[in-house]
């Protein structure tokens, strides 16, 4: 890749609902592996991915308490990617659609995730080398 390339992703799905979510995070991880700067615009349910109060739980069916279960949380995935980007020396920007946040009541997000509007998606896309939109599906 050329030095300092940037990719923008738009994503719409909430956590714990669709296989698209884990595919999306695999893509973000691979983008950082490739040395790319990453921009994310989270729209609709995807704004809950960074919700700070996501809470891990035990699972009696699995026979594991909360510590043993180590339940995946998308806010921790985002934080892990933020740390990876810092380690790799690339940028990792995350903007949530603010109106989508308000209507879902997920205003408290982890550090490093901001609030914006579709204008930010356009700014991200205009400045990036390429953009991938992952739309939701019924």
């Amino acid at each position: 890749m050329k030095e300092g390339q940037t990719l923008t992703f738009a994503f719409m799905d909430p956590p714990f609902e669709s296989a698209r979510t884990s595919t999306f995070f695999r893509l973000l991880d691979a983008a950082l592996d490739a040395g790319a700067n990453v921009n994310v615009f989270a729209y609709e349910g995807a704004v809950a991915l960074s919700f700070a109060h996501q809470s891990a739980h035990g699972n009696s069916i699995h026979g594991r308490d909360a510590g043993e279960e180590a339940h995946p949380l998308s806010r921790e995935w985002i934080a892990a990617l933020q740390r990876k980007a810092a380690h790799c020396g690339v940028q990792f920007q995350w903007i949530n659609c603010g109106l989508c946040v308000d209507e879902r009541g997920v205003n408290e997000v982890i550090d490093g995730c901001g609030r914006g509007s579709p204008a930010d998606l356009w700014k991200f896309a205009s400045a990036a080398d390429n953009t991938l939109v992952i739309g939701t599906r019924d």
């Binding site: 738009a10 729209y43 609709e44 209507e103 509007s117 579709p118 204008a119 998606l121 356009w122 700014k123 896309a125 205009s126 390429n130 953009t131 939109v133 739309g135 939701t136 599906r137 019924d138």
Partner: protein, 126 residues
């Protein structure tokens, strides 16, 4: 940069949002200067035929004040300079081929989609 917004889903959250979320996003981005062309496919071809607002929802003593008005949103997009194209084959397979599309919407057949894709800088499939 010209972006083709391919809208395939429709009536997905129109009850809660009082609009189509991708049509709304397109209007918002257009306001920020985005150069857009919209392609209505699959379920979204119904938007090319929109005649009136959606029926208002009511639950108990709650009644919706402003149900979605897709026709108005499509007209506003057209008025703002966004080209809108609909796939004729998708209309026909739903028995809607003889209906009149909103003024200003262009119809193409599936074989012409590749040419449309090649005419823009990016294709965003919603």
């Amino acid at each position: 940069m010209k972006v083709l917004q391919v809208i395939e889903q429709a009536f997905r959250a129109t009850g809660e949002e009082q609009d189509d979320t991708i049509v709304w996003l397109s209007r918002s981005m257009r306001g920020a200067g985005a150069d857009l062309h919209i392609l209505l496919t699959s379920h979204a071809v119904s938007y090319a035929l929109a005649k009136a607002g959606s029926p208002a929802l009511s639950f108990g003593d709650w009644r919706q004040a402003h149900p979605a008005d897709i026709r108005n949103d499509i007209r506003e997009l057209l008025a703002s300079g966004v080209e809108i194209t609909v796939v004729q084959d998708d209309l026909e397979e739903r028995g809607l081929g003889a209906k009149q599309c909103l003024q200003g919407i262009r119809q193409i057949c599936r074989d012409e989609i590749a040419t449309l894709y090649d005419s823009v800088d990016q294709v965003w499939q919603w």
